[in-house]
Amino acid sequence: MLELARVSVARGELRVVRDLELTVSAGEMVALLGPNGAGKTSTIMAIAGHVPVVEGTIRFEGRSIDTLSPPERTRLGLGLVPEGRRIFPDLTVRENLVVGGYLLSRGEAQKREREVTALFPRLEERRQQRAGTLSGGEQQMLSIARALMVRPRLLLVDELSLGLMPAVVDLCFEVLVRLCREQGLACLVVEQNTQKILTVADRVTVLSAGRTVWQGTAEEARADEALIDRMLGLEAG
């Protein structure tokens, strides 16, 4: 579904990702791990179209999307849950979902709104509440729900667990795993919480200083967590 072939990404003059090879298939959850500054967020933002790719090609469902704008990629079936959630704080929960479904017809958006709030019943209770006043966990649920409004086939999720209570993280991952298994959603997830992501992901790619340093299945990663921790700079001592 998603293929990155020798992709390099730049922020200004600086190349932050080099020669990245990555694939994500339908129904699969792939984790992108790495220490701070490894190029994980830049990769996600390049796939979503917010950061330019300077070399290589990104293909989605067999088609090159390098020249497409972010809304064109959204229309094609890419959803983004960005780092820091970036919900619209002055809009209500419902209005955030309206913006998420802006590319849909009014009727379709209303139907979809009911479907995504069924995934996160807490949002239904907070429907008319200003999003900026929600708790961090509720904001993350809203960010995921907003991205799901357009029925994406690939969801890009950046730092889902950051600053959230474990119970909320579990709930969010539970929803994503269910969507992957039951509806064939593909997920590319950037995550710092290694322990959690290795229990839900299918495959893992580890980046360091913009280069791929390890790729394998989550099972292989779980079998040698110390190796992954070393690559992430998390080893004790």
Binding site: A48, G49, H50, P70, P71, T74, R75, L80, P82, R86, F88, P89, D90, L91, E95, N96, V98, V99, G100, Y102, L103, R106, R146, V150
Partner: protein
């Protein structure tokens, strides 16, 4: 009854300020630009209106024409002057705006002369209903009604329509709004069209009220508009509306009780300085 009349006169004046300040605050909220040249759209609406009325059009149609021309000119100015400067520091757009105001004012001066134009007939000014002993002319009523309709219409648009919600999302985070298919460019064009239309209508009605349209007529009103935008909390729409009404009423009472010390405009700026010394962030929270 005297105080009620003063209050109503102040609210009418506040309604006019609201029409000006609302446009300024909408543009500031979206682009972080202090659109000083807004004053020229106030004058433009007045000139188009007076020329149309003096050529035989009914006042209502002349007002509509003034609004239409101002609403068309606003997006044009955004596209030619501001859009190329969006990635520059904010003071660049501010300087461009001041330059544009001077250019448009002198343009009016060159085209229509320095002394201004009056309405050949001004029936809205000399007639009006008697509201239980309080006399208001039709221009004052039109000013009040226009402001109420504009504010209510904008409010309904902002919360009741998908386009309005998309607009507010663009104010919050233009990059994210764009990724969901909202066009920030269309939102900006619409903001300039609406803001300029409101300024044009206010200019036409103030022209009727004073029976004079002259090149610099928008300046003081626009400066007060900017003061109101700061008072109301930069980019804060409800704060702007309250500050407009407050300033109008304070001016109205001030002209009676402070007229020996300060003139009407000085009262407005005195209030601004006093409030900002007390609350530098304005009366309400800015964006």
């Amino acid at each position: 009854m005297f105080y009620v009349e003063l209050l109503i006169a102040g609210l009418v004046q506040g309604a006019m300020y609201a029409m000006m300040a609302l446009g300024l605050t909408l543009i500031y909220g979206l682009l972080r630009i202090l659109h000083i040249a807004h004053a020229a759209f106030f004058t433009l609406g007045g000139y188009v209106g007076v020329l149309a009325a003096n050529s035989g059009l009914p006042l209502g149609a002349a007002a509509a024409l003034g609004v239409l021309v101002a609403a068309t000119a606003g997006p044009l100015v955004y596209g030619t002057v501001y859009r190329p400067l969006l990635d520059k520091p904010p003071y660049v757009a501010l300087i461009a705006s001041i330059g544009l105001l001077i250019a448009m004012e002198d343009g009016f001066r060159l085209l229509f002369g320095p002394y201004g134009l009056s309405f050949a007939e001004n029936p809205w000014f000399v007639t009006g209903p008697d509201l239980g002993g309080i006399f208001l002319n039709w221009v004052q009523i039109a000013l009040g009604l226009s402001a109420v309709l504009a504010i209510a219409g904008l409010g309904l648009f902002a919360v009741g329509s998908r386009a309005g919600v998309a607009w507010r999302a663009t104010v919050d985070d233009p990059e994210m709004a764009m990724s969901f298919g909202v066009s920030p460019e269309r939102v900006r064009l619409l903001a300039f069209a609406l803001a300029s239309a409101l300024a044009g209508l206010a200019g036409f009605l103030v022209g009727l009220l004073n029976n004079l349209i002259e090149p610099g007529m928008g300046n003081i009103t626009s400066y007060k508009g900017l003061a109101i935008v700061v008072l109301g909390g930069l980019g804060n729409v409800p704060g702007t509306l309250w500050a407009s009404l407050l300033l109008g009423v304070a001016e109205s009472f001030g002209t009676i009780y402070l007229d020996k010390i300060l003139d009407r405009d000085a009262i407005a700026f005195f209030i601004l300085v006093a409030v900002l010394m007390w609350r530098p962030q304005g009366l309400a929270r800015g964006r």
